[in-house]
Symmetry: C2
Subunit: 193 residues, 2 copies
């Protein structure tokens, strides 16, 4: 069947239609789903990976980060020297308690949404395309908070230090220390959680 | 002054206007420039970094990759254990000659545009949000080619192996070998370029 032509449109309606055509096209492009065959390793679609939800933190800190979703990109590719996580931080959620690592470099790159980066320099809002890096051993605690009403996503890259890593938390009575070869949460006086 | 109200619009024009409102809003959101203060370290805007253009490859291979632009995100943050580059691959350009690393893990994450990943598995098209990873020592040569008419951007992450790294090139008579403590391009019979 032939398409029915729009009839009886006034000049104004036509003019408006012309005006908004680019907007409609832009939206169509933005929401278009490209049909591609499913990738095969070493390529992969990170969104097909099962996310890890939850936290190994002791209470009450686990509540502040527990809803974040992490997809482990490095692992699926068989990498061992560094980890790359695709993280979805829901509204109100924190990436971690504010901390710094003794052995491992860390870098984040924001993909979508907006997060607040907290460091000794204060608070900064980071949007898509912004990055931040944290060298091992530099005692400047950092974490991200999503204070918006939309999810935020970012990539986090971190070294995998052989033998594990220790971390210091800036604002709370907690440390990670390697005890008997394992990373343990302890109070700042050394007593375990 | 009060805004002048639209007058004399027909019902059809109003209906059309209602219909396309989401598209117009979406476009406004997509093209809006958010005013934010310039970030300060440890946060930064990767696009403000001076790109490295060109290649250390010998001729004629340098011509195939020379127009790529690399911005070194890890370096500006003071990281030493791994590198993170924001790479812009112009139309027709290759990321590297097809290669694999002896010591260093590698991972790419596509941000915009479209690239072709070439490995022993063949060719695959990777669009935004797709990733691929290459463990150290696995002899599966890989590289990316931009066969489209638009620039493509991606993040590449690679370990910084103390003492440097060696690489094997799959399709050409070239290797990287550490000679007198430095990475050198040599032919497969060992003679230098």
């Amino acid at each position: 069947m032939a398409k029915s032509k729009p009839r009886g449109r006034t000049k104004k309606a036509k003019k408006l239609a012309r005006k908004i055509r680019p907007a409609i096209k832009a939206r169509r492009r933005a929401t278009a789903v490209r049909k591609r065959p499913a990738p095969k390793l070493p390529a992969f679609d990170p969104m097909t990976l099962e996310p890890r939800i939850g936290s190994g933190y002791p209470k009450p800190f686990s509540d502040r980060v527990g809803r974040r979703e992490k997809r482990r990109l490095g692992d699926v590719a068989g990498l061992t020297q560094f980890g790359v996580n695709l993280v979805m931080l829901p509204p109100g959620c924190e990436s971690s308690m504010r901390h710094w690592h003794r052995n491992e470099d860390e870098l984040v790159y924001v993909l979508s949404g907006e997060v607040v980066l907290v460091t000794d320099e204060g608070e900064q809002v980071l949007g898509p395309g912004m990055a931040a890096g944290f060298p091992a051993g530099k005692p400047n605690g950092h974490h991200l908070i999503n204070r918006t009403r939309r999810p935020a996503t970012y990539l986090e890259v971190g070294t995998r230090w052989p033998g594990g890593d220790e971390a210091d938390y800036s604002d709370i009575d907690m440390l990670v220390r390697i005890i008997d070869g394992k990373e343990r949460f302890v109070h700042k006086d050394g007593t375990p959680y």
